[in-house]
């Protein structure tokens, strides 16, 4: 019986496993490309990659942009869901939140350029109403060295994503446990610590990982709204990939493989730490 059951699950999972196989295979190939030199296997590319000055500046740049974009979008999105979830669910507001999700990131980047650029709509409007006298007086938001335009675009796109990921968690938060805590003499602080945080934490970690991996390595937005130096890691990898020398191509593979390895490790560790609690929470017997 047991054998039969797991056999059936296995059959149902075959397409998904094939997909996993393909992804793993592609990562292995990326690794192979990064260690294959003209004279057989070599780790030279990794060694010389770390001697590239461009890499360090681009890494720090990518890290800070990713950090601010991820932390701010999670905090703002979470704050909105916490205070408004009852209102958002089943309202027209939920559909409005979907709107930015519909547009690709590069379209949103274009929109930010259109509105916040030095020759953009906002700057023009300020000029017409006499607030500024020339377009130079409008602050540089896009294509600036600090990557403000990139961060703005990501915030604008990812806050709705955070809201829509967290909304179902908050709608299904077991309210009865709050009552139990209340009659035992616990206050809001305890309800947060015992109920809200354990239920929200796994999803929050998932969102953090998705956004970090995405923003750190996405190409479109920084290529559009960034400057030539410093460059985000993904732009650098892309340039290397299409660069003239074979060596640079291997750099691209090495760089992306390192990022992939770090992210895989980080996600596996956090999931291992969270899985047991997640499993316990799924055994909850509150009526839904």
């Amino acid at each position: 019986m047991k054998w039969h059951l797991s056999n059936r699950s296995f059959l149902l999972l075959i397409p998904a496993l094939l997909f996993l196989l393909m992804v793993t295979y592609s990562l292995i190939l990326a690794f192979v490309e990064s260690v294959r030199g003209p004279n057989g296997w070599t780790l030279d590319f990794y060694v010389s990659l770390f001697q590239e000055r461009r890499l360090y500046s681009s890494f720090i740049y990518s890290l800070s942009i990713t950090f601010f974009s991820v932390i701010l979008s999670v905090l703002i999105g979470w704050g909105i869901v916490r205070s408004c979830h009852a209102m958002i669910e089943n309202s027209i507001g939920k559909w409005m939140i979907w709107i930015p999700m519909l547009f690709p990131h590069f379209v949103w980047g274009y929109f930010v350029l259109l509105v916040l650029g030095q020759s953009g709509v906002l700057s023009s409007a300020l000029f017409q109403s006499g607030w500024i006298e020339s377009r130079d007086q409008f602050p540089i938001f896009v294509q600036d060295k600090r990557g403000l335009g990139i961060i703005i675009t990501y915030l604008w796109k990812e806050i709705p994503f955070v809201i829509l990921m967290l909304l179902p968690v908050y709608v299904q938060l077991p309210k009865q446990y709050g009552e139990v805590i209340g009659v035992l003499g616990g206050g809001k602080r305890h309800i947060f610590g015992t109920i809200e945080w354990p239920w929200v934490k796994p999803v929050l970690v998932e969102i953090l990982l998705i956004l970090t991996a995405f923003i750190f390595t996405a190409y479109e937005v920084p290529a559009l709204l960034g400057v030539t130096y410093p460059q985000m890691a993904s732009v650098l990898a892309y340039d290397w990939f299409y660069g003239s020398s074979l060596e640079e191509r291997s750099y691209a593979f090495a760089l992306l493989f390192i990022i992939a390895a770090i992210m895989t490790l980080a996600s596996l560790i956090s999931f291992m730490l969270l899985n047991r609690q997640r499993w316990l929470l799924s055994k909850s017997q509150h009526s839904r």
């Binding site: 446990y177 139990v180 209340g182 009659v183 616990g186 206050g187 015992t194 316990l280 055994k283 017997q285």
Partner: protein
Amino acid sequence: MNKTYIDIKNVHKSFQKNEVFGSIQLSLNKGEILSLVGPSGTGKSTFLRCLAGLDQFSSGDVLIEGKTILSKKTKDRPIGMVFQQPLLFPHLTILENVTYGLRLHKKKKEADIVGMKYMKFVGLEGYTQMYPHSLSGGQQQRVALIRALIVKPKLLLLDEPFSSLDPDLRRELRDGVRQLLKKEGMTAIFVTHDREEAMLLGDRVAVLANGSLQQIGNPQDVYEHPYNQTVAHFFSDALVVDEHHYIRNYDLNWTDSKVGHSTENIFYRAEWLNESYHYGKRYAHVKMIEKNRRLVLPIDLDFRRVAHGEMGYIRARQSTKCRFNKEGKFNE
């Protein structure tokens, strides 16, 4: 007479112009258990939720030791509650669940010692480090009970705590629960829709139906002397003769034909539906034709077998007819 410990004065609750219950007046002595019994959907749960502060009364007042509690928030009321479902925190161990309320004010070590003591009371000392999902429903409800008891509330509310359990477990649990509540000297209101449970657990029973308290008293009195038709139908086993009179089921009898003096006896035409046996006694399940109402009445064990659908009579002596009376106790 003891000074009243808990005084519920004229509380009333309406929800969007619909009255859930009107004007409930109750008082409890220290250490007393009151069973609040009534058909489903009569606002018993709402009444408890209002007491606990999870919902608000529309009017009225509640005093504990002479002081009003309605102005306090849920967490500051000296009231504990056990819900229909155990609602144990799934990610905390059993001991962490039990000591949850204590841990709000006490150190872990102290709380754990007290927690272990209570876990022994309910025979679960071997389960401290387990998680709720590995316990049976009955065990979980016992944990929920001591989790509420351990903070020593002045009033404990139990909202049909056995309703999610199967009948055998319920029977096993309720004796233990009463013993534990008595041992702790707990003042409690126990809500149920099961008459037997109400009688077994409560020092007194209160019947709540149609949005108001119909009768309150010790279980035997309420059973034998219902104030009105509603109580008679719901709590007593009685045949309601008319709006003023009733006959207790144990004074009823089954006959195949009208035998005996009609001045001394009353006959109701009835259809035999089925029979059953309980604790060594035999009962006939019959349908009164006139009122189209089912009744269960005792019959002799050696009475002949009757087929389903056979017609006959329910017989009662005139002298057993009683009058609904708030003063109760005397027959006509």
